[in-house]
Symmetry: C2
Subunit: 361 residues, 2 copies
């Protein structure tokens, strides 16, 4: 059976995720939905644009295509940068019938998506994810946002793209550290929603590390499928979708306390997943042996289970301010065996403290 | 028959407009949808808050209510102010279950609504309009936005409130110039959608100017009904809703060319409506006598038909950049008799120039 080239996200506005397609083919693919001459604004970052913009633009000769780039820094995911990009969109003649394309990783997708969600009260948006993290996770599900001094992703929207265009060849040049960010989310997807994917990761760990084409494609496709299934069930995060936050309540607190330096998002998620495993194990949701398998899996990909230089009380305080908390209670996602997860609102501060102490060295 | 106290807006998320209700009763009214202790952020401006915040807050004793005010200037409808208000929302402990209340006129509604649309990707929003313009027009329909140096309302969203709470007594202290802004929109509503309302305005012009209770209420209710009918038919402005733009393509160009000084929004709309009438009359959509009736109506309310100090070529250029234009063509709304309107995309620059010359002195 041929592997499907398309996975459909079911939502108020359904959209396809195209897999294993070429950047240069996107323009032609859009012919049925974009009138010739339509204004298209590609939002990207300098290094990514240098590698891929021309390949993309070559396919858009029938349109009025423009490029807007911004520096490759997390601080750029801000209202200030939104203000700048808006000016560039106007200068490029982008109108209500226009299209905004995010060419890049998570920061590009979030920022370009928030621009698309708000520019003239919403123009069409298309994701072209070029990192593993963006391909398996952030480009899917319609969450877009900018940061605010008071919180990450504090201002945003649920704004689904019209499509996600996933060209696997953009991963070829990606540094290993970037790959690890995506692998952390893939392990997370396996743990919370697909035991078969977890076994696949265990079995093909070497092939994955060696970026072997067939294995690589299969891993990405299955990781995407988990995310698609969950966001299709719960587009606006009223229930199920919160499960995707596995490892993230801990991870975000960690990234925040460390000031987003010296730790990657993937490392934060990895340590956070381990912390969640400890609580789940103590509560009896997860066998000790399962916890070991999860830790091993992360370790094989070079993802950490421990970190130094943070204080558990400070971390606990950060978790108190998590925007996913509900009715004043901390919402923690816990693995239930491998392949399932559940939301817990009854983790005591002592339990959280103990979990932090397991991962802090 | 008793006048209904509620008009329902039909939309993806329907919501009621409560009429002739008291500020002090809102809190109790919300008991069925807000848990006790829910965080509520009221966004307002100093003068309005001074007059009305306490009356509102008295009804919210079961909740955790906070007030955030910003200076009464159009420049405040910006991303910079959104950044400030976001910090205040965090400081007030506003979470995903919280509620943002806009207490004020159009600027407050637009800005508070955009904050609600984007804060944590969307929290509940409620409109408490305190000006005639906000009551008959801007609080209805879910459009929220901020301005950008490159354009008014350039960044925004369609984000319906959970309800509009309209207390007519807030109009008692409103200066006449503010009333005129609302009357301009009311005349517009009558011209584009309700000949009966137009006749009512003609018949009761003196009572309206004298703010006579019964007439005043009837006028507001009928003006709201026109807006509700149109936005219910077309929430996201794909068709019908564009008709509400009658007079506004001209009016916005005028306000913009004059730098938003020396002209109120109502004056811009009034002159713009007259300009649209001239084109409609030349094209044979509007009888000369109907045009006269519309001009008289505006004049009775002290709204202008002419203005000096602007250049028709510059105005024409501004209209070129209107974000409502489609496929490169200027979209102009024209009255068709009194009580109907239609969208025209074939107004030539010569026709527009002539219309401008009719209103420029």
């Amino acid at each position: 059976m041929a592997t499907p080239k398309k996975i459909e996200v079911i939502a108020a506005h359904p959209y396809p995720i195209w897999l294993d397609v070429g950047l240069e083919d996107l323009g032609q693919h859009l012919e049925s939905v974009l009138r010739p001459g339509t204004s298209v604004l590609v939002v990207s970052q300098p290094q990514i644009a240098e590698l891929y913009y021309q390949r993309l633009a070559d396919g858009f000769k029938a349109y009025s295509i423009h490029l807007a780039v911004f520096p490759n820094r997390e601080e750029e995911k801000s209202l200030a940068r939104l203000q700048e990009l808006t000016a560039e969109a106007v200068a490029a003649g982008l109108d209500r019938d226009g299209l905004i394309v995010a060419l890049g990783g998570g920061v590009v997708g979030d920022l370009a998506g928030f621009l698309a969600a708000t520019y003239m009260r919403g123009v069409r948006f298309l994701q072209v994810p070029t990192t593993l993290l963006a391909q398996v996770d952030s480009s899917i599900g319609g969450k877009v946002a900018v940061n605010h001094p008071a919180g990450k992703n504090l201002l945003g929207a649920f704004y689904p793209p019209i499509a996600v265009w996933t060209d696997f060849t953009t991963l070829d040049t990606l540094p290993w550290e970037e790959i690890q960010n995506g692998l952390a989310e893939t392990v997370k997807h396996a743990v919370l929603g697909d035991v078969g994917l977890f076994e696949f990761l265990e079995e093909h760990a070497e092939g994955i590390k060696g970026r072997e084409g067939g294995i690589w494609r299969e891993m990405i496709r299955r990781s995407i499928a988990v995310k698609v299934r969950i966001v299709s069930e719960d587009e606006k995060e009223k229930g199920q979708r919160a499960l995707l936050n596995l490892g993230h309540s801990f991870g975000h607190a960690l990234e925040s306390v460390l000031g987003y330096t010296g730790i990657t998002h993937g490392q934060g998620v990895s340590i956070g997943t381990v912390a969640a495993c400890h609580i789940a194990q103590r509560k009896g949701y997860l066998k000790n042996q399962e916890m070991q398998r999860i830790q091993n899996m992360l370790q094989v990909f070079g993802l950490p289970a421990h970190i130094s230089g943070a204080d558990s009380e400070e971390l606990l305080l950060k978790m108190q301010a998590d925007k996913k908390n509900k009715e004043g209670k901390k919402v923690i996602i816990l693995p239930v065996n491998i392949g399932r997860a559940a939301e817990s609102r009854d983790c005591s501060d002592d339990e959280l403290r103990e979990a932090w102490q397991e991962v802090l060295v």
